[in-house]
Subunit: 216 residues, 2 copies
């Protein structure tokens, strides 16, 4: 934790999660008309505090000019560089159910620098099929393929009861980051990152909001 961090002193996860929003917004602007963008302008568009925007952008060191703002092209470039868009990360996906197949087909990942190279499952009905040009293989081949192709990212789209089991297989296969769509807390070694995409949690917030208004 306390070693070898020269250029990126402290970047919080919260900030990191906002960076793609900035990027998305900046890219949606007309680059012919807008050459320079200010932090208050970004803050207004995204409903954030202007100070927070500056703080976030300061973290990736794309110096702005007082009175004008930031150079749009440069800022977009810096964000893309920082977020690693461009350098594609290859990933494997386990669980070729509805959700898994949707993720395999989701073209937008390309622009975020993610490429799912292959899917895995245990169900003979889907093994051997192709989804969006990607093969679905038997899970037994997970480890050898990941080792051979040096895959770092595993996407977990299996039912909750199987999640930990598959997670263990991924870790054993050399995966270093797991994107978990199952509503369970995964048990992993220290050096593995788990990013949870917990739909049940989001739904809880949604339905609570509705119930609150109803109970009034």
């Amino acid at each position: 934790m306390t070693d070898s961090e020269f250029k990126l002193p402290s970047i919080s996860v919260q900030t990191l999660r906002r960076l793609p929003l900035y990027l998305e917004h900046l890219k949606s602007l007309d680059h012919e008309k807008t050459k320079i963008i200010s932090s208050p302008a970004i803050a207004r568009a995204l409903h954030l505090n202007e100070v927070q925007v500056r703080k976030d952008l300061a973290a990736i060191k794309s110096g702005g000019r007082p009175r004008t703002g930031y150079l749009l092209e440069k800022l977009v470039g810096d964000l893309e560089t920082y977020l690693g868009y461009g350098n594609i990360n290859e990933a494997v996906l386990v669980g070729a159910g509805h959700l898994g197949r949707a993720l395999l087909s989701y073209k937008e990942f390309d622009s975020y620098g993610l490429k799912i190279v292959v899917g895995f499952d245990v169900d003979d009905a889907v093994i051997g099929t192709e989804v969006a040009g990607k093969k679905v293989l038997h899970i037994g081949k997970l480890e050898s393929l990941c080792r051979r192709m040096h895959i770092n990212i595993g996407i977990l789209a299996v039912p909750a009861p199987s999640a930990q089991l598959v997670c263990n297989m991924m870790v054993k296969a050399g995966i270093r980051a797991i994107w978990n769509f199952a509503p369970v807390k995964l048990d992993v070694p220290e050096h593995i990152l788990v990013q949870n995409e917990n739909m049940a949690s989001s739904l809880a917030v949604l339905s609570k909001h509705l119930k609150k208004r109803i109970s009034k």
Copy 2:
């Protein structure tokens, strides 16, 4: 804000998002063998602080007994009641692309109390088709259908550039909570809740983690 809240004094979004995790874990236990569960046991399983678990559970007022813990069955019931599982919330979905169709087909939502009744799109190629028994209609019919069926939840699974436009249509149709899968910050009136399921943000965290290790 400051009126008529007797039973649920203050529940943070963070706590609310953890509740489904507790529920999922508790339901995965063997109810024949385990009748009582303690907060330290839950904390260990989910890698949380035991005090935090007690605080979260205190929010839904399911009193535990010193030295033993909480009654498992009662706790599960209270969680389900609180989260509104059982009472079905009906929702509409806009955007019948890969992600949208996956969400239409995602059976697990049933157990979370969410029922997607119909999908909408603008593409003639998908309009009129059925996905998992749910019709896909032209977006022009969104408002009349939502009003007629008193739908409160809208699921947004369209490309980023169309997201705000569709969002406005949902608000106009009487939707009160929007589950947003597009990587944009939506502009909505005060009383509308937007829950962002931002995959780009999650990916940023993932790839940053990997890059950090590479740069070492």
